[in-house]
């Protein structure tokens, strides 16, 4: 038993972490939130052209050299090949992207070739734009094609590697329907490369409907919500609940784990730096123990999520989901508490983690179903 990351897995994870640090850092995150807040007006039906160009056109020549390949050392196929220097230079970020996008105009949501009906234009006032250049960069890094066989142009890796990557995008709060697009790779043309953005109807909600090129499931009658999460536009759909895909549950749990780890770091950083009564607030046990609690929940969830990725057992996945949801939501709340008044501001990134964690708890069935599934298994096993 070697229940720890292999060197290749570590390299894979670190590769994406570094790529995201260059391409979607804290400043980019803030810019994306600002952009979502100020941009208004429903976009009109556009030219139908893919928005990729707008993103790459802003990329400068910087950032050459280095190896942004996430799949390095893992024998990744073509799709993991290169994050072009241009993509990496694109870090100037969502702010720059926004102006480019405004010029590019809106894009229509194409009819869902795979499973869904046509969605029509769903972009609503004040909702964020998807950073297509970032999406393509993720595609170039092999993020979407990760689990496709190499023979089909994929990276040929498995669930454990996917979980490590989704933990990173969860950590960085990368916006967009990442799980839906990843799951569509191989089934929806262009999803694997990041050329096509795929959204999915999930339990009465659709994330990023207005920005998607393809919608899986039936979005008929979709009505926009004023989304709690400034970086996740949401639509309500009347459609009934389909049985959740266990892989979607697991990848969501991985994103929650990323959040749990990140808020633990943020809380500890703040507790070390912020001084009151002449010492760092982390010297007060009430604060230190909150931080320790965040860590305990995150590390327990980590063991559950990684193990579920190895076994792919639906019961293990249900357990991972329960632990990861708790670690993310309670972690983010406690992190907010450790930040004091700063934690209640729009300015600080803490609320973004909590809000995204709340969005993810609504995905793929939710915790109630996982609890009931495990209870049923318990009862069946011991009957």
């Amino acid at each position: 038993m070697r229940f720890r990351l292999t060197d290749d897995q570590r390299a894979l994870r670190d590769g994406l972490r570094e790529a995201l640090a260059r391409r979607f850092d804290a400043a980019a995150l803030r810019a994306a939130v600002c952009a979502a807040g100020v941009e208004g007006g429903t976009e009109s039906e556009g030219t139908g052209r893919r928005g990729v160009g707008a993103g790459s056109s802003e990329s400068g020549g910087g950032g050459a050299g280095g190896d942004g390949t996430v799949g390095s050392g893992t024998g990744g196929g073509g799709a993991s090949g290169s994050a072009s220097a241009g993509e990496r230079a694109g870090v100037s970020g969502a702010g720059g992207e926004r102006s480019g996008r405004a010029g590019a105009g809106g894009r229509p949501v194409r009819g869902a070739e795979a499973d869904g009906g046509a969605a029509g234009t769903r972009r609503t006032a004040g909702s964020p734009r998807l950073d297509r250049a970032l999406w393509r960069a993720l595609g170039d890094l092999g993020f979407f094609a990760l689990r496709m066989p190499e023979a089909d142009g994929g990276v040929g890796l498995g669930l454990p590697e996917a979980v490590l990557l989704f933990e990173e995008t969860g950590r960085a709060l990368v916006p967009g329907p990442l799980v839906a697009t990843h799951l569509a790779a191989g089934a929806v043309p262009g999803a694997a490369t990041g050329a096509t953005v795929v959204a999915a109807v999930d339990g009465g909600l659709v994330e990023w409907l207005g920005e998607a090129d393809v919608v899986r499931g039936d979005p008929t009658g979709a009505v926009p919500l004023r989304s709690l999460d400034p970086l996740t536009p949401l639509h309500r759909v009347p459609a009934g609940r389909a049985a959740p895909d266990p892989v979607a549950v697991l990848l969501t749990a991985a994103e929650q784990l990323g959040t749990a780890g990140r808020v633990c770091e943020l809380a500890a950083q703040h507790a070390r730096a912020r001084e009151q009564f002449g010492r760092p607030v982390g010297a007060f046990q009430a604060v230190a123990h909150l931080c320790a609690g965040i860590l305990v929940r995150a590390e327990t969830a980590r063991a559950a999520v990684y193990a579920a990725a190895v076994t792919a057992d639906p019961a293990d996945i249900a357990a991972a989901r329960i632990l990861a949801d708790e670690a993310a939501v309670r972690g983010a709340r406690d992190c907010l508490q450790v930040h004091g008044g700063m934690g209640f501001t729009w300015e600080s990134e803490v609320h973004l983690h909590l809000k995204r964690a709340w969005v993810r708890t609504q995905r793929a069935g939710g915790v109630t179903e996982s609890e009931e599934a495990l209870a049923a298994a318990l009862s069946a096993d011991s009957a």
Binding site: M1, Q285, A292, L295, T300, D316, I322, A375, L378, S382
Partner: protein, 377 residues
């Protein structure tokens, strides 16, 4: 990330399973919790069987994975746990193995492994619990012996122990961590008085130990004089490492039994109860994975359990209490009947957040050693 075991490890598991299936049916019935001589004989008898079958030193010499398999399989099969051998096998023994001289290892280790001698742990004092280094039991050098005076408390199994791993203060002038020494105290030495303490569960699991001018040979000192704190830290990391592995397996079995009981008595129809049990199942699955994660980390780092042990200990203690609270919900009014299964375990579970370092202390350890927060008060 690999959760599978090597062929050698699977072979070890298969042979162990086979052996357990043969010996367990022949085991005498478990003695009652208050029958101390009976408990001692039972626990030592089990250790003797392990010894004769070649499993005696699995806790010390086995790789962490082999230890995990051993604990998992013995618990699955319903075999006895270390019981009265706990301190000898999991605290004092490993400490002597790591820090003792060749003579000391030859004197003390074989009787532990053969199931002949029982050890207890004399660390805590009335004035030194969480702040263990504040201990005041005094040891004065007199020729080739230390003369020890003071008192210990919460000493588990003291009544049936032959030896006590004893922490004493040898230099009252030094800073508190620097004046402590580790001694092996023979429990039959003149001046040792044991007074049993009754726990809230009704049994006498631990005791007060009074020491009045007790002469302990200098040859019984493990490690250097005044170096006992460092020697002790070796022991404590064992305690928080893999000591609870078997119990996690047992808790998962209890959960299954709770589901059966709830179906029988109709409470399974209560969705809140079902979900509570489902959530606990997730919890213990995760704790099992966390154990495997920690064991893999220990294997990679040469066997010493790190601060990860505190993460596990903290989470597990609370999960165990929550498990037996859920059991009470399954039982309904029957949870007040001490003759029902789980009622007594519910009481025992209350010690988990206190013994071997309270939950508050574990939180502080995690905050300081893992998160790097400043030392608090």
């Amino acid at each position: 990330m690999d959760l599978s075991y090597t062929p050698e490890e699977e072979d070890f598991r298969a042979r162990l399973r086979d052996w357990l299936a043969r010996v367990l049916p022949a085991l005498p019935p478990k003695p009652s919790p208050d029958d101390w001589p009976g408990r001692r004989a039972y626990d030592l008898g089990w250790q003797r069987r392990l010894h004769d079958a070649g499993y005696a030193d699995v806790h010390w010499d086995g790789t962490p994975s082999v230890r995990l398999i051993f604990l998992e399989e013995t618990e699955r099969a319903g075999a006895p746990y270390v019981g009265a051998n706990f301190v000898g096998l999991l605290h004092a023994g490993p400490t002597i193995a790591a820090e003792g001289t060749a003579d000391q290892r030859a004197r003390w280790l074989p009787p532990i492994l053969r199931g002949e001698e029982v050890w207890c742990q004399g660390f805590s004092e009335p004035g030194a619990g969480s702040d263990l280094a504040a201990l005041r039991t005094r040891a004065r050098r007199d020729g080739d012996a230390y003369v020890v005076t003071g008192s210990k408390i919460w000493t588990s199994h003291a009544e049936v122990a032959d030896w006590c791993e004893l922490l004493v203060r040898t230099d009252p002038g030094a800073p508190k961590h620097r004046g402590i020494t580790w001694l092996a105290l023979p429990m039959d030495a003149p001046g040792v008085t044991v007074r049993p303490l009754r726990t809230l569960a009704g049994s006498a699991e631990f005791a007060e130990v009074f020491l009045d001018e007790v002469r302990v040979p200098v040859a019984n000192r493990v490690g250097d004089e005044n170096d006992g704190w460092r020697v002790t830290m070796v022991t404590l990391s064992f305690e928080r490492g893999t000591a609870f592995v078997g119990e996690v397996v047992a808790c998962r079995r209890v959960l299954g039994e709770l589901a059966v009981e709830a179906r029988k008595n109709g409470r399974w129809d209560d969705s809140a109860l079902r979900r509570r049990l489902g959530r606990l199942d997730a919890e213990f699955r995760a704790l099992w994975r966390l154990t495997q994660w920690n064991v893999s980390a220990a294997e990679a780092s040469g066997g010493v359990p790190g601060a990860g042990g505190s993460v596990f200990k903290l989470r597990y203690s609370h999960a165990r209490q929550e498990l037996y609270d859920a059991a009470a919900q399954v039982l309904g009014p029957d949870c007040l009947d001490l003759d029902r299964p789980w009622a007594l375990e519910r009481l025992s579970s209350l010690s988990y957040t206190i013994a071997a370092g309270t939950s508050q202390v574990q939180h502080s350890i995690i905050a300081e050693r893992i998160l790097g927060l400043p030392k608090g008060r």
